[in-house]
């Protein structure tokens, strides 16, 4: 039987040792730096940083998926489309097979926190990896065995994710832990969840275009219908997307359009900690953190594509680009599908930790020989418990930093030939906020031809 002093020491040692992994690391600093680069549109610097051996080592095996996602999105922002596809393919292949924690991961997340696990993509990230690849293929004019492959993957994945999260919430609701968590959390956190997984409207729009140009009318029509459904779901989340702008995409003939404009802007959401507690449970108190999505900015109220002949100063076309998706809203809504499971796991873990500290303190207190020592142990237990819980209960804030915030799109028909295109981002009243560089495009003859312009403004 250890002495009371040993009990105090044990309690502290246990708390401190378990708290160690929660210390801030260089990986955390790198994530902050990348966010700063994203906020300033410094993608070349972000690419250079991500490519250094030190940063690769910091990401390691545990966070390699996150590295692929970041590097792929940075490559898209830098117009490095073949490399973007190569890197995002690695991420996609990994996500396809590595969706669930291993036994060791689960053990680590149950004992410490969710950050101990290798990075598994959130459902919205799983979907956007295909959307970015779809965009990259269209930009490179690789429709068959390129854009159409991603379009099919996206549809298949979205169907499965929708089914999966409906099933998951139904299963959770039948579990007694769900009711316990609801009653413990009260109004602090919303555990009961309504709504369904939203397929990316940008992804379905690009899918419809890819199928149209590949001559697959049937799939084009289906993608057009799915786009309208996704927009309607998105509208319920108070976005400015108007389905009237996309009514006929499923029925367009390939010869109706030959130019695609995609204007990405703003920054996608990041995860920030939401502190929950103190929650009194039985004889102990629970504190923990949950990840909450924080929107990035998206200043552009609208966008337009300006087309001119090479060398000319007079535009021959000013084409409005309607908003098709607010990626921040769709990402947050889809992340909500995962939150009930995260919340319940975190609550149970924090409760178990609090109970363990309480029991350890009680054992030490009872073994103490004097009242003073008992009081000392009690104070040490309370302080150690708070230290232990607050330092180990860290929300997993890892997420795909370099996602854009919103997407405006448009299709037009131009006579075959060479042009220059510039994407302009406008404020609510119509003032020019940002104009991209003039980009040369060549519109080829023939119904299957498609020239794609992609612009990205980070504000």
């Amino acid at each position: 039987m250890p002495s009371a002093r040993q009990s105090i020491l044990l309690t502290f040692l246990f708390s401190v040792l378990l708290a160690l992994p929660a210390c801030r690391t260089r990986f955390d600093d790198t994530r902050d730096t990348l966010q700063a680069f994203h906020a300033q549109g410094q993608y070349q610097q972000a690419a250079t940083l991500l490519d250094t051996q030190q940063i690769l080592a910091d990401y390691g095996q545990k966070n390699r998926l996150l590295w692929w996602l970041e590097r792929g999105a940075v490559a898209v922002a830098l117009d490095e489309y073949p490399f973007a596809v190569e890197v995002l393919n690695k991420a996609d292949d990994y996500m396809e097979l590595e969706r669930e924690q291993t036994g060791a991961d689960e053990l680590a997340t149950w004992i410490l926190n969710d950050t101990q696990s290798p990075y598994y993509a959130a459902a919205y990230e799983d979907m956007y990896v295909n959307v970015l690849k779809l965009l990259a293929h269209l930009r490179r004019d690789v429709i068959n065995n390129g854009a159409t492959v991603e379009a099919r993957r996206l549809a298949n994945k979205s169907d499965w994710l929708r089914r999966r999260y409906v099933h998951e919430i139904e299963t959770l609701k039948q579990d007694s832990k769900f009711a316990d968590a609801q009653s413990a959390l009260g109004s602090r956190v919303e555990v009961a969840d309504a709504g369904e997984f939203i397929e990316s409207p940008l992804g379905t729009f690009l899918s419809a275009v890819a199928f149209m140009k590949s001559g697959n009318t049937n799939f084009q029509n289906v993608a057009g219908q799915r786009l309208l459904s996704a927009i309607r779901l998105q509208q319920s989340l108070q976005t400015r997307v108007d389905e009237q702008n996309f009514q006929n995409i499923g029925d367009l003939d390939p010869s109706d359009v030959n130019t695609l404009f995609v204007a990405m802007s703003g920054r996608g959401p990041i995860k920030v900690p939401q502190r929950i507690g103190p929650i009194p449970l039985y004889t102990y108190t629970v504190y923990f953190e949950l990840p909450r999505m924080l929107y990035g900015p998206a200043a552009a109220a609208s966008a337009r594509a300006v087309v001119r002949s090479p060398g000319s100063t007079q535009p021959i076309l000013e084409h409005p680009l309607p908003l098709v998706e607010d990626l921040r809203v769709v990402a947050e809504e889809n992340f909500r599908r995962q939150l009930p499971a995260i919340t319940i796991r975190t609550l149970l873990r924090a409760s178990a930790k609090a109970a363990a500290v309480t029991i350890a303190t009680e054992v030490g207190r009872k073994s103490a020989s004097s009242d003073d020592l008992q009081t000392g142990i009690e104070i040490a237990g309370i302080l150690g418990g708070i230290l232990f819980l607050t330092t180990t209960e860290k929300a997993d804030l890892r997420s795909w930093t370099f996602l854009p915030g919103q997407a405006h799109v448009g299709l037009a028909k131009l006579e075959p030939g060479d042009y220059e295109v510039r994407i302009e981002y406008l404020s609510g009243p119509g003032g020019l906020l940002y104009a991209g560089p003039w980009r040369p495009i060549t519109v080829a003859p023939g119904a299957s031809a498609l020239s794609t312009t992609v612009e990205y403004w980070w504000q």
């Binding site: 039987m1 250890p2 009990s7 044990l10 246990f14 040792l17 378990l18 992994p21 095996q61 545990k62 393919n89 097979l97 969706r99 669930e100 924690q101 291993t102 036994g103 060791a104 053990l107 680590a108 004992i111 410490l112 101990q116 290798p118 068959n144 065995n145 390129g146 159409t148 492959v149 099919r152 993957r153 298949n156 499965w160 089914r163 999966r164 099933h167 697959n216 363990a356 029991i359 350890a360 054992v363």
Partner: protein, 205 residues
């Protein structure tokens, strides 16, 4: 004491969980027969491509259409050109993995003739054109003497992929369809189809 033992056990488990991912991994490379079946995952792989070209060429050579063609064309062998094979799957597939071998098997059977596909014609025509200026008269090739194909090989690859709710079981079905169509009349003279089905189940973890 039991509770403290539990605490110690928890600590050990936590430490093990933190240390486990740091274990080193090594990779061994060995040379194997290209015919060896190695399924790393459930996607279309070299074994599937082999299954497709072997199945297709066996079927195409076994059926009577070549004899029928020769009989109807004064004993001439049909001339085939390879056209596009549409990838209608959610995977990046190089149809050349099986069309090339299909071409080879058909040509080596001696029962058909094969002309260069569209992608290769440009290089050949360019070489011929260059030769008009640079080759000796004796070796210079005549322009506009290309052999016209009788039949075009067209096809598609379709896929049905299903995944269990927990994501641990994936069923992947591919159907590869090839057909030979008379370029003049649009009549199909041969249709071949090979199916591949794979079930991948994640165990343990």
């Amino acid at each position: 004491m039991n509770r403290q033992a539990n605490l110690s056990l928890s600590f050990l488990l936590a430490a093990a969980a933190v240390v486990l991912p740091a274990c080193t991994r090594t990779r061994e490379v060995k040379r194997v027969d290209p015919g060896t079946v190695v399924d790393v995952d459930y996607r279309f792989n070299d074994t599937d491509a082999r299954q497709v070209w072997q199945g297709m060429s066996n079927d195409a050579l076994f059926r009577q259409w070549i004899d029928t063609w020769s009989r109807e064309h004064n004993g001439q062998r049909p001339i085939i050109i390879v056209g596009p094979v549409k990838n209608e799957t959610g995977e990046y597939l190089d149809s050349g993995l099986f069309t090339r071998n299909f071409e080879r098997e058909m040509l080596n059977s001696g029962r058909v003739r094969i002309v260069a596909a569209r992608n290769d014609r440009g290089e050949l025509r360019d070489e011929r054109l260059q030769g008009q200026e640079w080759n000796t008269a004796a070796t210079r090739k005549i322009m506009r003497e290309e052999l016209g194909a009788d039949l075009m090989l067209l096809g598609d690859i379709k896929q049905v992929k299903d995944r269990s709710i927990d994501g641990k079981t994936i069923v992947n079905y591919y159907q590869v369809n090839l057909d030979l169509t008379n370029i003049e009349s649009n009549e199909k003279v041969w249709i071949g189809s090979v199916e591949v089905k794979k079930v991948s189940t994640e165990r343990g973890g």
